[in-house]
Symmetry: C2
Subunit: 558 residues, 2 copies
């Protein structure tokens, strides 16, 4: 599925630094450094360890997750290096006195002994299956934990959130991410923009994200712009050339006013003889003079149907006289289902009244605290919205603000390790594993299967027993029609050894959209989705339970 990069021996590759320059080896928890010190003191720091990065439950009450953040992880690993400034700070930050030898160890530390296997970014993923497997000296692999988990957690959470919004909105609607101002800090905003696009959004309002990631940018104007005008009298430069440059309208303001007068005399004008707000009319006219090709107006500053929509139509019709096609309106408050339908009727009435073909199809964008649930309600009520601008609930993942990715030791010195817990859901699956996705007859993925490293891979059309890792009664035979190995090598000690290409964002986005389409619909629905099965081989199952009994203390009831 992945194209291989062409690293033909002599070529020197460079992997860029993480997008956020604050991502450095000290963007970590102190205990990673104290542990590294203790490993180093014990002479254990170079023991070969294998860690799995995985989550235990899909977010938002759903049964799927979009894996995101991999490229930033690889950039972090490829550029992992303590500066002298970091070292000096670590010396001071360590509890108690810290031997200089340890600082020398940090000074020379990099990820040249580390290997990273990962599921391709943008893939649909499921609980317990490792998203990343990090192998390397336990000292450095342990030091990577916090940063990798940070880089994957929010990225995957918000990409999943975006994908869920896309599923509810359907493929015919434009989805615009407008969240920067409410995001959790500057790069909460920037990463939200990136990963919402990955999860299926069409554009963002965030200019910095547009620049960093090539995401299409969208935006019109705010209420402040509307209320900054008092009346059309203050517009000084009133002329506008026609779209083909052939003529010029010397007084566009009067042209707009003339159209408004005509509209106000129509029988469909709400509120009959009411005046529209003149500061709003001035703002729209002025905005149209600046963007005659891209006129999109926010129509709810005063009153949508009595002021905003008629004012917009007057400007749009005046623009039309000069050959320009207005883009549409944005609604940012009130009953969006009702108002969008009323606005649509108004546009259609204008089309009919004035014989302006296509006017009834004018674009309607809606915003104002939208989320998955309100989109669902809008669908049920019926609406005429073409594009949704979604901010707060999307970018902060308001419905569930965190994903619980963890990074667990599964093997050290070729010895399988597992973390026990009184809570079975927190028990980790030991061993260095291979992971497969098995596809059924209808082309849908049926089950993800983890097996021990040295077990034979599942084969197409060969029956294999898939067991729930902890529940002994849950098991099923599967005859896969297709077998996909999930973990691919993304880092093997040097940029020149990178095996899988890091694809451009738009390709990762396409992968995500493609995989979402490929899932069986009942796994993806909003209410009571069917859990996707994640399993282990019979052999791995037996080993897990052998190790578990071996490690857990036997209680004694008293």
């Amino acid at each position: 599925m992945e194209e291989k990069s062409d690293n033909g021996g002599t070529m020197k590759s460079v992997i860029e630094a993480p997008t956020n320059p604050m991502v450095t080896p000290i963007l970590t928890d102190l205990y990673q450094l104290t542990m590294a010190y203790a490993y180093w003191k014990a002479g254990k720091h170079n023991e070969r360890a294998v860690f799995d990065l995985f989550f235990r439950k899909s977010p938002f009450g759903g049964e799927f997750t979009v894996f995101a953040g991999l490229e930033e992880c690889i950039r972090f690993i490829a550029n992992y290096k303590f500066t002298e400034e970091h070292i000096a700070f670590v010396r001071d930050a360590m509890p108690g006195k810290c031997e200089e030898g340890f600082l020398d160890y940090l000074r020379q530390l990099d990820c040249s002994e580390v290997e990273v296997y990962a599921i391709p970014e943008g893939s649909i993923v499921f609980p317990r299956v490792p998203l990343l497997r990090v192998e390397g000296p336990v000292g450095v692999a342990q030091l990577l934990e916090t940063t990798l988990v940070n880089l994957v957690n929010f990225a995957s959470l918000v990409a999943t959130n975006a994908a869920r919004h896309r599923i509810v909105a359907g493929n015919s609607k434009a989805l615009l991410e407008f969240g920067l101002r409410r995001a959790q800090g500057p790069d909460g905003g920037i990463s939200a923009s990136k990963y919402c696009y990955m999860g299926g959004f069409d554009a963002t309002s965030n200019v910095a994200a547009g620049r960093l990631f090539g995401i299409p940018l969208k935006g019109t104007h705010s209420h402040a712009y509307v209320s900054s005008f008092m009346s059309p009298d203050e517009i000084v430069e009133k002329s506008l050339r026609s779209v083909d440059g052939s003529t010029s309208c010397e007084d566009f303001v009067s042209l707009v006013q003339a159209w408004l007068n005509k509209i106000q005399r129509t029988k469909f004008m709400a509120g009959g003889f009411g005046e529209t707000n003149s500061s709003e009319l001035a703002a729209f006219t002025s905005y149209a003079l600046a963007f005659p090709d891209n006129f999109l107006a926010l129509v709810d500053t005063y009153d949508v149907m009595r002021s905003g929509v008629p004012n917009f139509c007057a400007v749009a019709l005046a623009l039309r006289d000069l050959g320009y096609k207005a883009m549409g309106i944005r609604l940012d408050s009130g009953d969006l289902a009702y108002l969008s339908c009323e606005a649509r009727k108004f546009f259609q009435a204008i089309e009919k009244e004035f014989g302006v073909s296509g006017f009834g199809k004018m674009g309607i964008t809606a915003s104002n605290d939208l989320n998955e649930e309100t989109l669902d309600h809008l669908n049920k009520q019926g609406h005429e919205v073409d594009a949704f601008g979604i901010g707060t609930y999307l970018v902060t993942c308001y419905a569930q603000a965190a994903l619980g990715c963890v990074f667990k030791l599964v093997e050290i010195n070729n010895q399988p390790r597992m973390k026990l817990s009184e809570d079975v859901s927190k028990v980790s699956i030991p061993c260095k594993k291979r992971c497969y996705r098995l596809y059924g007859r209808e082309g849908y993925p049926l089950v993800d299967l983890m097996i021990g490293e040295n077990e034979p891979a599942p084969k197409v059309e060969e029956r294999i027993l898939c067991r729930h890792p902890f529940n002994e009664s849950k098991r099923a035979y599967v005859v896969p029609q297709r077998v996909e190995e999930l973990l691919k090598c993304y880092w093997r000690g040097s940029p020149d050894e990178v095996r899988e290409d890091m694809l451009p964002l738009k390709d990762i986005r396409s992968r995500c959209i493609r995989q979402l389409d490929k899932m069986r619909p009942d796994h993806m629905r909003r209410l009571n989705p069917t859990p996707y099965k994640v399993s282990v081989s019979a052999k791995l199952y037996d080993f897990i339970h052998f190790l578990w009994l071996n490690e857990a203390p036997v209680g004694e009831l008293q």
Copy 2:
């Protein structure tokens, strides 16, 4: 209250760049740039505007908010400058073609004509009262909106969340922020660490935040560290010098084992003859060899009372033989109330059995998905926890992941402006205003009062009518015992004109803690807190309603 900086004429001040280098003029919504262009095209960009930055509702169902993010806002404003790279990107990003004159305008743009008045950072603040008032040419003031709102929203949200955790935990407990891995991106983590400290936390695990902001760092080790060991046999370097350097224990591993044997023979050892987990014992022993002065062990990898606590005690008692004082344990799963009480009893039994004074007071840190509510439950159940490590719910503000700060135009060209809305709660309060906090006889703040710029300030012991801005029946006379002006000047066009000092983080933290203590307790309680009153003068009330009627269209029922 504020110390004035000593800007004695010739001194040149510099205000540092924002902490996150990604905070630049293009960290904004596209529509700010399209609006700036439209203002510029209309020749309106230099009209003097006043914007208020405020929120409409305190978060988490509470009635107070901690204002945070001001210093980053001022850093952003002081260093506001488009680079040529930004300009080139803006040229491409603008819808339609953009005149070069506008890019020249952006090129020379800075905040030398901007003034910022703000409530001091770390203050307790309430809905509708401006946190910042930004005055300046409408072009540049409008361009600041998204970034300022972004910098204030999450900062204030997470500082408030921290303060709420502090109130529930009480002042005697240590509160440690452990959230980096679950935070919303890298600087979601870094800013959470900063603002949790501001809101009253004692320390963070986030090394980068410790370095950037001087926040105390805390941390011990993880489950992976414990499971990376197999048995004490693998510990090679077994010697440990005593704390005073006078003696050396050649085989610390055996000393620990000897203590464990003694503990296992006591009648209070849970499960009687059960063996503790030997990989855990090895990990603790090894960690103590690295940090004999700061030994704190995570005791729940296998079984808290049957393995973790006895293993910890064995190591702590061995350390004690060499003059070291162990710091304590961390619990990260299970019933924290019960386990902390059981661990406390065990420590006390050890103290009694072996005559080791003080051992019963061993530190107990608890972590694992803690939040305000679980802290409250722990308090009600009774527990023996001394320090709480709080991550996910704190740093992502899981209970409410966004604060809704907005930035509204309230005046342009000396003309008051207001934004209407069908939703009264979204109507903004027009005019450039002065804001005061009025204190009562008992020293508590009674009410915040907004008045027009030219009205006389409220005076101590002079009766003044305070009106709800929108509800005509809600009004009260107040005779303030103390009057505090809330908005102070933080920026007046140049760093040399900065009037209020930007205090070190620890001083802002002290202000926050002081102000929290000064509030009437019923405003601060978790359940059904009393709303704090926010009001306007009688004159401003009348003006708001005059303007409202003036701007709103009159409907006609059909």
